[in-house]
Symmetry: C4
Subunit: 207 residues, 4 copies
Amino acid sequence: MENETARVEAFSDGVFAIAITLLILEIVVRAPHEALSARRLSEELRHLWPSYLAYFASFATIGVMWLNHHRLFTLIVKNDDGLSAFNLLLLLGVTWVPFPTAVLATQLLAPGQRVAAVVYATSFFAIAIVFNLMWRYAVRSRLVREHLDVAAIARQYAGGPILYAILIGVGALNAVACLVLSAAIAAYFLLPPQLWRREAQQPRPMR
Amino acid sequence: MENETARVEAFSDGVFAIAITLLILEIVVRAPHEALSARRLSEELRHLWPSYLAYFASFATIGVMWLNHHRLFTLIVKNDDGLSAFNLLLLLGVTWVPFPTAVLATQLLAPGQRVAAVVYATSFFAIAIVFNLMWRYAVRSRLVREHLDVAAIARQYAGGPILYAILIGVGALNAVACLVLSAAIAAYFLLPPQLWRREAQQPRPMR
Amino acid sequence: MENETARVEAFSDGVFAIAITLLILEIVVRAPHEALSARRLSEELRHLWPSYLAYFASFATIGVMWLNHHRLFTLIVKNDDGLSAFNLLLLLGVTWVPFPTAVLATQLLAPGQRVAAVVYATSFFAIAIVFNLMWRYAVRSRLVREHLDVAAIARQYAGGPILYAILIGVGALNAVACLVLSAAIAAYFLLPPQLWRREAQQPRPMR
Amino acid sequence: MENETARVEAFSDGVFAIAITLLILEIVVRAPHEALSARRLSEELRHLWPSYLAYFASFATIGVMWLNHHRLFTLIVKNDDGLSAFNLLLLLGVTWVPFPTAVLATQLLAPGQRVAAVVYATSFFAIAIVFNLMWRYAVRSRLVREHLDVAAIARQYAGGPILYAILIGVGALNAVACLVLSAAIAAYFLLPPQLWRREAQQPRPMR
């Protein structure tokens, strides 16, 4: 192995990749084995828009979580059993996502939509908390690269739980707004924090 | 990590591998838990030919997309957040493929077949567009290897959207022809563009 | 390949990652396509607690098995066909886990719960036995690193079958206690054996 | 990338790992959401023995195919587009396996069992043919390591199609015998050919 965290990253990549790909299995045409007319099939496909929206929002969120995980492990260079435990807790959250996604997709237009939205948003909130705890643990256990502005990075990560707490509130009011906002939060996180960008612009030693 | 794009490639490989393998889950014998006679089982298996054809066409297409992704990342040697975002958009398209494949397989002999075929072909068209945008972005952001004939490669990539636009037109006329043509397009892309071949024949520095 | 066991580890990582992620597919709301009221959806979600508990226990167990596999392959540095065969047998056990998990989750409150719990615990027992056999084989075939206290490590591994034999006994009495204990065993294994920790603290040669 | 075939191997590992893990999804208790008595659950679990047998035979076969693929790519050191095409064809066969496995498992005691067994065995026969074609292609295109006794290795590979042709014949007579024989063939291939063993025993240069 080229470094201590390589196999943890490989396993995590696998879990993220599978969780993000399983989302599509939730999108199914009603009565899939019936022969449908063009008009009826078009209606069925349009009728699935809550599934498409939930698929997009969850794909974007898991995608950005993967990206964050990837960024985090460019800063974390050592591994220990505590970090492995936090990482498993994080992956528990990631593999969980397809379930609330499926519930929200099927209930988006039902009276129980807000319950589904709160469960959905709370799942992301919990994952954001674990990201924070994992980063703090890595810093405290000296598993991170040297010369990092760890306090500034911790402030960056603190944004996640705050945004997802707001998402829970929005979900309690309206499920569609909750999905749209979760996709918007993913887009926000896709924009890189200035700290990592500055880090990345430093010349790297030849290897 | 041996290079900047290694983990992006590993994650993408996982997503491609899962999407291509999930396709088989769509092929199911009707009434699978019934005990069937030899004649009835043979009929049931023959009756599934639209599923086999859709499975083959989508497998070939995702396979070739993976190959293109692989080729692209032999030319792209640096990573940034924009490229990660484009790559996620590309993977969104790839994970989407099993859904229109399942719809087209089950509706191939139904009156709504042409609607299903247009949705199927449009999915591939969108992915081909994202491939083009990603390549242009990588060139403009100077993430690619030096001394490449980027204009010639861009011309090669422009072929994808054109072919898949034609596929949409064919799908609007006949769904079976659409599936056969999409398999043929995959075979065409499997033939390597001369540019990359020439590139690959240059002697490589020892590492 | 950077070392002889790299591709065995990569394949195993993939299998572990997929098995751990497939667990979520077993959690499904009854009548998922019905529009539910807020009260009814809340009830349905609460009603699924056996599935959540089984999901958590199996996730933790597979997670810890992966960790053990990872630790084992930091000690195993050579590969041969016998080791590959043992590794496949181990992976057979890992991919099997989602099935007894699903059975136990759905039968946790049914009269047959203890049968389901015994099957569940026996699956983990069998995997622990294979871990032991694989380690003994690796030592006897001189596939492990030099200067290891192999007897002490074998004693550590012997704990697995003993704990899972107890789990079978608990499962024969009460299925919920069986699930809680299996999660507790996973937490116990997450705590690293002192031997590996001492090993890991030795300075490593530069590469 | 450390060598030319690394990403082809990584993608193939992913496909093998997923196909081998998806097999478990086919094993489902009838009426899974019914609360069953201990006696009834025991009966249901015993009743699934054709599924267990098919799961074991297909797991062993895919596992051995992965091992063969792994061995093959220790001999193949260069990649080209033809090899990628053959590899995709091979993976098409591997991802196909869960379908005939599911059909055979559910029809093993039905009158149509022999039809299911012939389809099952023919799938493995086709994969064995592709393995042979891929090896011949790799040799002819000079993608393999130097100083190999390629004729002897080709003779080894020729055993696969012959054994699986016999399996088709056995399947035409009895489906259970077909499953047992396919597991036995997998065990046979797990025993390493002497050629590769001698190869592996040569001292390797330090890296």
